[in-house]
Symmetry: C2
Subunit: 141 residues, 2 copies
DNA sequence: TAGTATATAAGAATAATTCTAACTTGAGAA
DNA sequence: TTCTCAAGTTAGAATTATTCTTATATACTA
C-alpha cells in the first residue's frame, strides 16, 4: 500500500489519516527545499483543488508540536518549513533567498548544555551571504 | 545641547533630525531589551501622542539600511530590534520570551569566510531554552 | 526668513496567520 | 459492512504586522 509509512506517522501521533494530511506529508518528504505554507498550499492545490490554507496551517502546526518538522524564521513575515530535524545549520542567500542546509560538524562536540544558569534546548546557526550561483552571476555583491 | 550625538548620527546618514527620529534613537539607546516596533510605538506614544506607527517603521528601516540597528526574527510574526551591532549571540527564553545577549567568544577565531563557494556576510547563533528565572520558577520545563 | 525637499500622520491596503461555524469523513464498534 | 461521532475540512471572516498613499507639516539651506 502506498503512503504506508506516512499513515504510520499519523497514527503514531494520533491524527486521522486524511488525504490532505497524507498529501502534505508526502509533499514534505519529496520537497526538502524549506517551502513556505503558501508554497505548499499552491502546489497541493493542483492535486486537491478544494484544499484550504487553514488545513495546511493546522497540519503543519500539529507536525511541529510533535517535533516532526521545524519552522525557520529567516526573513520578515515568512516562515519556512524544515523537514530535516537532524541538527544542522543554514545558509540563507541574501540575493536569491534560497536556504541551504549546512552539515558542518566542526562545532558539534562543543555544544554547551547551559550558559550561565540558562537551560539550552536547541541551538541554531545561520549564515547569511551569497550562494555560489549568485556570486558568479554578479561577480561582486 | 541635549541629544547632540543623536543628531550627529542623523546628519551622518543624511536624515533630517526630526523630534520623532531623535526620540526613537534615544529610546533605543536606553532600551537594550530588543523591543518590537509596536513596543517602541506604544512607549513613545506617551511622550508624542500623535506619533505614527509608519514613522517608527520608516525610521527603523532607515537605521537598518545604515547598519545602525539590526532586526531579529526569533518568533513567528515578531521582529525585535537589536541595537548592539557588535557580534554576539542570542538566547531566547521559550517561556518568558525574553531575549538575552550572549557574549561568547569561544568560536570567534573560527568564523569561516566561505562555505563551499558561498560568500558569508554574517553569522547568527541563537540558543533556545529557559532562562534562569523561568527554570527556578518552574523547576522543570 | 523663505522655499523646497523631506518627513509625518492617518488611514487604507496588503499579506500571513488564526478563528469560526457549518458541513464532511475516518475509523472504531457493532 | 454499516453506523456513529469525534475529529477534520472548508470558506470566509477576523486579526495582526507591515507597507503604501496622500495631504499636511517641517527641517534646513541659501
Amino acid at each position: 500500500m502506498k503512503y504506508n509509512d506516512t499513515i504510520k506517522i499519523l497514527k503514531e501521533i494520533k491524527l486521522k489519516a486524511t488525504p490532505q494530511r497524507i498529501a502534505i506529508i508526502e509533499f514534505l518528504k519529496e520537497n526538502r527545499t524549506h517551502p513556505t505554507p503558501r508554497q505548499i498550499y499552491d502546489l497541493l492545490k493542483k492535486e486537491y483543488p478544494s484544499i484550504s490554507l487553514a488545513t495546511i496551517y493546522n497540519t503543519l502546526s500539529a507536525l511541529k508540536d510533535e517535533g516532526i518538522i521545524e519552522e525557520l524564521y529567516l526573513e520578515k513575515d515568512i516562515s519556512h518549513i524544515e523537514c530535516n530535524t537532524t541538527p544542522h545549520d543554514h545558509f540563507f542567500c541574501l540575493s536569491c533567498k534560497k536556504i541551504f542546509d549546512i552539515m558542518e560538524d566542526k562545532y558539534k562536540d562543543d555544544i554547551p548544555h547551559t550558559i550561565k544558569d540558562f537551560k539550552i534546548i536547541s541551538i541554531r546557526k545561520e549564515y547569511f551571504g551569497y550562494c555560489d550561483e549568485c556570486v558568479s552571476k554578479e561577480g561582486e555583491n
